[in-house]
Symmetry: C2
Subunit: 241 residues, 2 copies
């Protein structure tokens, strides 16, 4: 772990500091007044303002303002970064192909350039995901309804893979769609597509049930469920304490 800072560098010094960091495989941050232009999947321009530019060794670029979770402009991983001086400005250019897109960040003033030798071997462990909900339902199928028997997960249908496929106590086929949080109309559409696909392949379509398992549903989603003859069961992704 190592960090180096250059404060209020001249344009050439800033360019050199960025290049050293990029060559070393460090995370480089540049703080200063800049304009930004993006062209690719869409295109955008941003006038002068004070912002923080982060360049990562994996080819990611992020331009952050003083507000918001999201960068105001960015490039995804696997881009090529380059730092040059043009018209007295530090210009950072980041580009990739497939799709062709490029980002220009032009600094009229650089306050600080830092680089950090970042190493991170830890992996994030998250709980409360849809996978947790699936494990919970498989461990206790009665959460869906008494007598429910899961037979397969990720079972393929012409419309995609069903989360849980099983049978109810009357032997009817049950398709379960899992969502870790409150669901809207989109999830009902997804479940409907799976059920429709199985009904088309079946001789007795009416016997196929579709059940949406989630903490809750919106009103519109509930209406859609009723229209399509689908059902809803409330289950949290993790047991409430």
């Amino acid at each position: 772990m190592d960090a180096t800072v250059v404060s209020e560098p001249g344009v050439e010094a800033a360019r050199d500091a960025v290049r050293v960091g990029l060559d070393a495989g460090d995370v480089v941050s540049v703080f200063g007044r800049c304009r930004v232009a993006y062209d690719g999947r869409a295109s955008s321009t941003l006038g002068a303002g004070d912002r923080l530019l982060l360049l990562k060794p994996d080819g990611t670029a992020l331009v952050h303002t003083d507000e918001g979770h999201q960068p105001v402009n960015w490039q995804p991983p696997d881009c090529d970064h380059a730092a040059t001086v043009a018209d007295g400005e530090l210009v950072v250019h980041s580009s990739r192909s497939t799709p062709d897109e490029e980002l220009y960040v032009r600094f009229e003033a650089v306050e600080q350039v830092s680089r950090y030798a970042v190493t991170d071997e830890s992996t994030l462990s998250v709980e409360g995901t849809e996978e947790d909900l699936r494990q919970r339902v498989l461990a206790d199928p009665a959460l869906v309804e008494a007598g429910f028997e899961p037979r397969a997960t990720e079972r393929d249908t012409p419309a995609g893979a069903v989360d849980i496929y099983g049978v109810d106590s009357d032997g009817r086929t049950v398709v379960v769609e899992l969502k870790r949080r409150r669901v809207g109309p989109d999830a009902v559409g997804q479940l409907g597509r799976y059920v429709d696909a199985l009904r088309r392949d079946s001789h007795d379509g009416a016997s196929i049930r579709g059940i949406l398992v989630a903490p809750s549903v919106t009103d519109r989603a509930r209406e859609l469920l009723a229209e399509e003859g689908l059902e809803f069961v409330a289950v949290e992704p993790t047991p409430s304490e």
Copy 2:
């Protein structure tokens, strides 16, 4: 615009530097070796590693590793940040309510604390959005088909607002759903819901057409369109040069 740096500070000095920056309404960055814990909409833990923590004056917190566009952990805007020392570590805590969630970043070593007085009055201008596609189609409805006449945009239906509502040369109602890029099954479901809602309200349901306008569709989406009797017209969000 102003930037201040403290390199390899002791724990108390790091805490004080963070507090000064937060109090001043600056963007604060902390680089060092840390562990991270989140609990709220889900929960997560992350073991020790070198990372960059950004604290924004709007209450945003971002933890970035050396890889990826997305922060490995974060808090959205409007959180309260606090820096303390516990067990010889710098602990940054960020929390909010509705929903209740909190983030702990514990630094066992701090390499650098910086703060930046960020001001940004410029607003981002983006082109090539769905709004551009709508303007394009409204300016030249023949892009959809000869004789198409838009009558309303964002027209309300029981299933939500339709992008463009109009009539064809035979006087039939046309519902247009716009997408700025290649579309999958979700967009077909959306269009289908609008068309179904209007058909239910109509005496002559069969006369209502649904047209998906986008650069292209996936195979599965094309099948769904056929099944539901919907149509597709290829249009780019911006004129090809």
